[in-house]
């Protein structure tokens, strides 16, 4: 019986949602669902960033722009706009895509490190704007007063259980969609643009269009990650647009494995677990995290998942080994 990859992935997605829905019965108490909600925001963000870094070879230092933009747009639309949750969501996605199109068009003209710097510059511009535009954004305090969630289709997002399920579904659907994009002809063209842009030109494909499209898709999903976080904290904070978010995204990708689709998800899980455990045990969080980072950067370069897949492959497993870490485009 031949199953198409899409159908197989769809089945996995449904199964994942069902498992996630049942897990709170195994781990009662809000701590578990809080963890999964935070994880969903970060996992979507990190996976969207990997579209650029891993699959596109475009090292963006400013992806946090979309995370912050998504959080603020969504929260503001609900708080000050008073519209419904689906409408706010749709609008946020549109805004994220539009901004990504404009900024992407400017940034992708630059190569390598200068592309990275320009994306960072744009992100810090947004951050400065958020801090300065206090009447709208609340400035450095963020949005105070909470984010209202009017019920829609019988879903009440101020009920912790509904919120948990909502985040699980958004997570799985987003991963499914991104997976589908990555495994589509567009995704393979993107990989080709990453590895051999000249050849792509000879085949009649315009590399910049592919890169721009990837940037927009990544921006949209980055914004979605931001919306989930704004629901979790019932606000939006300037930190969401600070460069450290981009740094954390990069770290999650490297922790989990840059060449594996689910790598960022694993990386996000690990980083959150590490963060929570260490914060509980010591106030010298930086010291511990720094040492861990060094171990990974100098030792486990393919990330945990990549390392594990390699080990699996060596034991004569399904023949799948982790691809080599992506090389930045144009660096010959």
């Amino acid at each position: 019986m031949i199953r198409s990859p899409i159908a197989r992935d769809a089945l996995i997605a449904v199964a994942a949602i069902l498992v996630l829905a049942v897990l709170p019965l195994v781990f009662p108490g809000q701590a578990f669902s809080d963890f999964v909600i935070r994880l969903s925001a970060f996992a979507i963000f990190a996976t969207s960033l990997n579209l650029l870094i891993g699959y596109g070879g475009m090292v963006s230092f400013g992806h946090g722009l979309f995370y912050g933009l998504g959080a603020y747009s969504f929260a503001l639309l609900l708080q000050k706009g008073g519209i419904s949750v689906p409408a706010a969501f749709a609008l946020t996605v549109t805004i994220g895509g539009a901004v990504a199109a404009v900024i992407g068009a400017i940034c992708i003209r630059l190569k390598e490190i200068y592309f990275s710097f320009l994306t960072l510059a744009f992100q810090m511009l947004l951050y400065s704007l958020i801090i300065a535009w206090t009447p709208l954004t609340g400035g450095d305090q963020g949005l105070t007063g909470g984010v209202p969630r009017p019920p829609f289709l019988g879903i009440r997002l101020d009920d912790p259980q509904h919120l948990y399920l909502f985040c699980c579904v958004v997570l799985v659907v987003s991963l499914f969609l991104m997976r589908h994009i990555v495994e589509s002809p567009f995704g393979y063209t993107l990989r080709m643009v990453r590895d051999n842009p000249r050849r792509v030109g000879f085949l009649g494909v315009q590399a910049w269009r592919i890169r721009l499209l990837a940037f927009v898709v990544a921006g949209i999903f980055g914004s979605i990650g931001g919306t989930l976080m704004s629901l979790y904290v019932s606000s939006a904070y300037p930190d969401f647009a600070y460069w450290t978010i981009s740094g954390e995204g990069v770290f999650m990708i490297l922790l989990g494995g840059i060449g594996v689709f689910l790598g960022p998800l694993v990386g996000a899980t690990l980083l959150l677990l590490l963060s929570d455990t260490v914060t509980r045990l010591t106030e010298y969080f930086g010291l511990v995290l720094g040492v861990v980072i060094l171990c990974f950067a100098l030792g486990l370069r393919k990330g945990l998942l990549g390392f594990a897949l390699d080990a699996w492959a060596k034991r004569g497993g399904a023949g799948r080994s982790a691809p080599r870490p992506a090389v930045t485009a144009g660096k010959d």
């Binding site: 498992v19 108490g29 963020g142 007063g145 101020d158 904290v233 677990l273 509980r280 897949l309």
Partner: protein
């Protein structure tokens, strides 16, 4: 397919088990009687790293000292306070997350929110949802308690309030300005919510108390900005007779050091609301004479033996003098302890009911007492004043105390104007 979920679940279970064992070992109490003498876990989300680490450290010190006294006196029917702190590193979303974890995973029944003002708003949203008793101890932003949209029934505040400080500052500055003919003023405060609110309120009320005052310019350095040259030269250009600044801690020290070498204070009187804090006073190496400051915390104001004794025992235990944050946190524990003894419970609703309108004796009270106002759940009657600083102990020899009648009058008017009342 690689079984990521399995390993993760295993790891999480292991961590849970390890955590439980550590917890049990940490309590050091025989397993059987744990149920009866279950500790009262108080969660303290705060900032323990980065530039504002001193906030968390001095807060935690004060809480621990007061908790020890309570525990030594037998606690609440044998139940002793256990403090659990979490570092948010100054990020509000981490503050929210830490608070949730303290309540959900660590079983904290009470939260003492020793966060910065941004963090306090984040904690407030968690308290709104989880309805646990919370006392904010470091956030001075008035809207946290004054704005009914932000207020939450189980959240209280024992920190000084921006509007109170503004009224006292303006009243003092107004009389000094009248006496010394200081007509032209400028401000130099950090560009973030606290700096802006504090400064604009001060300037507004200064004009009320002394209408001849003229504002000739404003400088807005960024928070934690290391180099104030451009702000100092801007001030020098405008040559104001007086300068108001809400800069604090390391920033204030840098600013005073840098401005001194420009000779700024030879022509301009400095009114620095945050100068009279022991950490800051002892850090400025060549403190220029004649700086006016509010009393953040000085052991000689109020000039009572209780206050001096508290400062000395804090110093004996921790090696440094207490900060403004220290007394605010000590006050919170004071209120909590009274409420717990009165209601003989740690239930949020009961404690909240007891706290509303409660008046306790306190070494930090202007008249020896402090009241937790019922209508907006924040404290009034604490000692605050202004004076001129000298470079050695007692640092502020003569303090002009704020008059609470005046403060409350103007505060009521302000609330009506803001639409809060």
């Amino acid at each position: 397919m690689f079984d990521t979920k399995g390993t993760i679940r295993q790891r999480r279970n292991f961590i849970k088990a390890a955590g439980a064992l550590t917890g049990a070992a940490g309590l050091g109490v025989p397993f059987i009687s744990r149920a009866q003498n279950k500790p009262i876990r108080i969660g303290v989300p705060t900032i323990l790293s980065g530039r504002v680490a001193q906030l968390g450290i001095s807060s935690r010190n004060a809480i621990s000292m007061e908790a020890e006294k309570f525990n030594a006196a037998g606690g609440l029917g044998g139940r002793k306070i256990e403090i659990i702190t979490r570092d948010s590193k100054g990020k509000p979303d981490e503050a929210a997350n830490n608070t949730r974890q303290l309540i959900n995973s660590e079983g904290c029944e009470i939260i003492i929110s020793a966060e910065s003002s941004a963090g306090a708003f984040a904690v407030q949203e968690v308290i709104r949802e989880l309805k646990v008793l919370c006392i904010h101890t470091n956030s001075e932003t008035s809207s946290l308690s004054a704005d009914p949209k932000i207020r939450v029934p189980t959240a209280f505040r024992t920190a000084r309030q921006g509007i109170h400080d503004a009224i006292v500052s303006a009243s003092y500055a107004g009389s000094v300005a009248k006496a010394k003919g200081l007509k032209t003023w400028m401000s130099c405060s950090p560009d973030y919510a606290y700096g802006r609110d504090n400064t604009s309120l001060f300037l507004e009320y200064l004009k009320r108390f002394h209408p001849e005052v003229e504002l000739v310019g404003e400088a807005w350095p960024k928070l934690f900005q290391p180099d104030y040259t451009e702000n100092i030269t801007k001030i020098l250009q405008a040559k104001p007779q007086a300068l108001y600044s809400a800069l604090w801690a390391g920033d204030l020290v840098s600013f005073v050091d840098q401005a001194s070498i420009y000779g700024l204070f030879m022509q301009t009187s400095l009114f620095a609301i945050n100068m009279a804090d022991y950490t800051t006073l002892t850090a400025v190496k060549n403190l220029p004479a004649g700086i006016h400051s509010a009393t953040r915390y000085i052991k000689t104001f109020p000039a009572s033996s209780d206050n001096a004794a508290w400062a000395d025992s804090y110093k004996a235990e921790y090696g440094d003098y207490p900060t403004n944050w220290s007394w605010e946190n000590a006050l919170a524990v004071g209120f909590l302890v009274s409420a717990m003894r009165k209601t003989k419970s740690t239930d949020a609703t009961k404690l909240a009911g007891a706290l509303r309108g409660m008046k306790i004796k306190s070494p930090f009270g202007a008249d020896g007492t402090i009241t937790m106002r019922a209508e907006d759940q924040t404290t009034i009657g604490y000692a605050l004043g202004w004076g001129m600083t000298i470079p050695k102990e007692p640092y502020v020899p003569n303090v002009t105390p704020g008059d609470w009648k005046t403060i409350l009058e103007y505060e009521t008017e302000w609330k009506k104007k803001m639409g809060y009342a």
